[in-house]
Structure formats: C-alpha cells, structure tokens
Symmetry: C2
Subunit: 364 residues, 2 copies
C-alpha cells in the first residue's frame, strides 16, 4: 500500500466503545462513507484510513493512531489540514494530538528557509538567545508607530514585530506605515552599528499578502509576521515558498487552545509550512499553557526532523524583563524572548527598558 | 466615537473576577497592551475595546459584550476574525458566542449573491425543500466518480456536491474530474429535462481557487463547494466577490466544535462572507450538535439581516432517507437536505434510492 501519514488523536471514550470509535475516525478522515458500499479494491486498500494502534491512556482517554494515505492530501497544505482534522474538529470529545509524517512529505512541504541560525545571523548573534518586542498600540498613525519603534530599537533589541492586530487599516495603511517604521528602526541603530530586524504583520488573501511582501522588501526588510490560521495554511505556505529571502514569524491568532495540540500546530505544522520562528503564549502569562506544553512546543519547533531547518520558539504573552533569567533557564539559548507591553509600559523610559532587556539576554 | 462591532463572549469566571476578566478581553482583542501606557487620546477613545455589558448566566458562566472599533477590522475578513477571536481563541475558558454587526459592516462584506431563492431557481423549485447528495469515495478516478454522479443524478436530485475530501489529488485531478462529472450529471438528466446542479469542491490558495472556478465555469457549472476555515476567510470572501455568477456552498471542515458557536460561525459569518448554503452536522447523526444548536444555526442563516440575502441551511452528517419527514418537520421548507453515504450505500439501487429521497422531499 502507498505511504501513510500517522495522525494521532486523543479521544474520550470507554474501553467498550473505542474500537468502533477509532474505526469511525479512520473513515471520517478519509472516504467518509460506509466502507461496505465501496466496491473499488484500490480505494479499500490505498485510500481508506487504517487504525494502526489504540492505547488506553487511563482516565477515559485513548490514543488512536490512524494511517492516512499521503495520496489523499498530496502536497497541498489546506488539504493536509482537512484530512488531519477537517470533520473530526467538529467532535468535541477528541483532539488532534500529534502527526508522524514520512520524510517525503516533510521534503515536499519544505519547512523554514532560515531557522534559528538564519535569524541569529541577521542580527550578528552567535549562540545566544534572541530578543524581540512588539509594536503597539494599533490605532496610531505611521508616524506614531515609527516613533515608538525607534525608541525600542534604540535599546538595541534584535527583533521588533508589529502587534498582530496591526493590519492594513485606514488609519495606518501598510504601504505608509512599513517604510516609515523600517526607516525609524534603521536610524535608531545608526549610532551603534547594530541591526534591529523589523517584522511587519501581513494580512489578507494571497494577492494582498504578496503585495505586502513586496512593500516590505522595497523598504529593505527581510522578515515578516503572519498568522497562518487566519490566512489559511495554503496561502502561508505559498508565500514562504515564493519568498525564500524572507524570514517568516508565525503568530498563533485563531489557533485555539484545545482541539489541535499546541506543540503539534504551532511547533510542527507551522514549521513544516515554513515558519522560521513561532510565537506562543508562555506559561505564567496571560494565557493558560502549562510549562510542559511550552517545553513540548519548543522541542517540536527545534528538534531534528527529517532534514528540515528548525523554527525558533518565541514564548510571549504578558512577559516582563524580570522573567528573563527564569525563561533562559527554562528554554536555554535556542529561543527568542518576546516582551511587548512590558517594555511599552515604561513610557519615556522605553529605550532604557529595552536596553536592560537586551543586556539581560546577551549576558544571561 | 466611531462605529463598533459588538462581540459577545461566554466566559467561565467567578462573580468576583468577571469585571477584570471582561476588561482584559476588551484589551486583548484591541490594543493588547497596558492601557495606562497609551498616551494617545484618539486611541483611548476610538480604538481600545469597551466593555458594554456583563450578564451572569448562572452556573459560573458570564456573557460579556465588548465593543470593538470597526476601524480596527476594516472590511478585511481575516482581520475581522483576528479582532473577534484571534488571541482569545487561546483561552480555553471562553467562547465567541455571537456578534452584532452595524449595517454598514454587513453591506461592506456583502453576504450571499444568490441565497435560497437563487438556489431554488436553479433547479426549478418553487417553495419546497431542496435535496443534495455527496459524491464519494475519494480515491476513484474521474470516470468512477462520474459514473456514481450519473447514477445519483438519474434519481432526480437537485444538487450533488463533491465530498469535501475530494480535492486536486493526483489520482483524480480537478481539471479532469470536474468536466467529466459535470457531463455525466447533465446526460443523466437529459431524459427528464430537469436539472441537477453539481458543486465541485475547491481547495488551495486564492490563485488555485480561481483556476478551479474557471475550470468549473468552463464545464458549464454555476455552483461550488468550499471550506472557509481551511482556505481562510479572506480567500473565500475574495472568491465570492469576484464570481457573482457562482453560488457558494460552505463546508464546516476545521470549523471546530466548541470555541466559536456554530450558529455564529456557520450561520452568520459564513453567510456574511457570501455563502449561499451552509453545510452543518444535523442532530442525531455522526456529530454531537443538539437540536437547539441546529435550529439556532438555521435561524441565523435564514433570518432577516441588514438586507443580506439568506443562506440555505444544509443539515447533514449521517442522514438517511428515513429521516426526511422528521427533518422537514423540524426545518420546514427553507432547507436543503443532504444525504451522502445513505444513498451510496444502496450500491446498484442508488438511483432508485435517490429518486425516493427526491420524491419524499418534493411531496413531503
């Protein structure tokens, strides 16, 4: 039989019912019809999902492994999501926990173009952790955002990304905002000769995304922020493949909490499609991820995986400069620390706060 | 202050904590930074989310209404999803329950081009319920799918859609499959002079979607199936706007169960973006929606809404011909009944089963 992707689901069920439930998932995520009504031997052998394993995890939770035919997804990112969890996402009693991809599938999607080494090289960092801040608030005109970006960059930060809420709004159009901010960031680093990489936030459909990448490139930028669950995985992947010179940071907006395991979605799948860095809510911040989830996500993003480049974990979501030592302890040096509001709250002292953050990471 | 969209969340909280939690949501879904650090009066007045109301629903659940500035979303579908539920989707203790849009926002997105009356007109139905079946299984070559489509159409069905798992796979490329199926369906109805509308399933990014619409149109088709949560809302909306002659049926793949209320997502938001019909799992089938959820979804899709055309509810997911009378009783005549596997299971008697289904609906 042809190559299979192994989708690993966690399902709430009873020992009596799990075999039938697993069989149901295998059908739901492939042919979605009574198997007894399928006459074609090739479809039965090579297309219908196969239950590969069922394990009782205790507490009424079972881990079900389903072999899905690679032929049904092809190398199409949206169809991959569809076959992994399309209809089953509607079942409230199961989550998509993990996926094992054949190496040929990894190679077909391609993963990140830059990864950790590429992002470090952009800012002249050797093997240390990287820093990042977020440009806010949305609602300011380009000049206002550029002024704040300049103050943050003057502190020597490695990366500054747009807040993910900043799009192509009438009060701050992408085409006006991005060159102004890029320029302010460059000027802020002219004195010390260092580089701060600014990542504008992209939005819209593929044509709009392409136009925004062009504006970014014309402004001298080589990195962008994107939310794959909002743009759709196919648009995200196409944009990455078309722009190998650009580094892509993925944002978890609309990625949900509970139905696709965060280490799989934000660690593996975003990486598979080409994210060089992946933003996620760190434990102990505004969101409810556990330390174990965060560690698993970072491991998934960084681990050796079929020759794909790695994807930099970017823990965020209510972090403060005070937490830098503890975060470095937890994540090590293969990480980008993102502090947004925690720096912006310093107001006039923003540059000093940014410099302290940068210093703590560089010498932490 | 500028126009606001009212986002209605349901949040698990205590009476002591809900005011702070509501304030946190208002910030998270707008400026996402400490409000005390915002100096700009215009941002404070016109951009920061506002808590409009908090109601105790009992049982530890509160309904929180947040006014989100229309200026932050613009008329961009992805950014609308981002501002409604981007970061908050990561909070496991809340769901996006409903949204109240100003009429100007409804007009800006535009809604369906055809709606119930348009779909009825395509098949010469006056005020009766419509029928639909699903073409399966994926894995068959174009000739195999065309043969099944022909057998179903010969029963006189109104609509036949591709299974949502059928994409542009190597074993059945869109460009080969769609004209073959369209032709088979047409030939099957040549004898009785009626029309069965075939809806091929679209996949991929905007450029691929456009190419597929062109193939469909060239094959004489005027309706398609699409899964907006997989393609991304922006691609879906752009495709609808660019193709006013095409009717769009929305599929719920990847739409999840628990974090955006189904009546809102599949009823209202898909309709707002332009779905002429919306497929959803009927109660009592393979999925867990309650009768109340299904009724609310149908009401949202059909109800009077700022001058937008209506969107036909299409209950599905394990339905059988035996349930037709009960479903007509439940939904009335403003509905399209979808039976896929339940007809395909009849094998050689598929045409007779399809005819019985059609007859039961036409005279039900």
């Amino acid at each position: 039989m042809g190559a299979r992707i192994t989708a690993i689901y966690r399902v709430a069920a009873t020992a009596d019912s799990i075999a039938a439930r697993a069989g149901g998932i295998a059908v739901e995520q492939s042919v979605e019809m009574p198997v007894s009504a399928i006459a074609d031997a090739d479809v039965l052998e090579n297309i219908v999902g196969k239950v590969e394993d069922i394990a009782d995890l205790g507490g009424g939770i079972f881990e079900v492994r389903i072999g899905l035919a690679v032929a049904t997804t092809g190398p199409e990112p949206g169809q991959l999501m569809n076959m992994l969890f399309g209809n089953s996402s509607i079942h409230a009693d199961m989550e998509l926990h993990d996926v094992i991809f054949p190496d040929a599938v990894l190679a077909a999607f391609g993963g990140p173009h830059h990864g950790l080494a590429g992002l470090r090289a952009k800012v002249g960092a050797k093997d240390r952790a990287l820093t990042c801040s977020a440009l806010k608030p949305q609602g300011l005109p380009p000049s206002g955002l550029a002024a704040i970006a300049g103050q943050l960059a003057a502190g020597g930060l490695d990366f500054i990304k747009d807040d993910h809420g900043i799009a192509d709004q009438a009060y701050s159009p992408f085409a006006d905002r991005v060159p102004a901010i890029a320029d302010a960031v460059r000027r802020a680093r002219a004195a010390d000769g260092g580089r701060t990489v600014y990542l504008p936030s992209l939005s819209g459909h593929l044509e709009q995304l392409r136009a925004q990448v062009k504006i970014a490139r014309d402004a001298g930028l080589d990195a962008v922020l994107i939310a794959p669950m909002i743009t759709g995985m196919a648009s995200f992947h196409a944009l990455v493949r078309e722009n190998p010179d650009m580094a892509f940071m993925a944002h978890p907006a609309l990625a949900g909490a509970s139905r696709i395991a965060p280490p799989l979605l934000m660690g593996k799948i975003f990486r598979l499609m080409g994210a060089d860095a992946t933003v996620f809510p760190n434990h102990g911040g505004r969101f409810g991820y556990s330390p174990a989830t965060c560690k698993a996500l970072a491991d998934a993003a960084l681990g050796s995986w079929g020759g794909l480049k790695d994807c930099v974990p970017v823990p965020a979501g209510g972090m403060t400069p005070e937490r830098v030592p503890e975060m470095l302890q937890f994540y090590g040096r293969d990480v980008m620390l993102l502090i947004g509001g925690g720096l912006l709250a310093a107001g006039a002292a923003m540059t000093q706060e940014a410099a302290k953050f940068q210093d703590a990471v560089m010498h932490g």
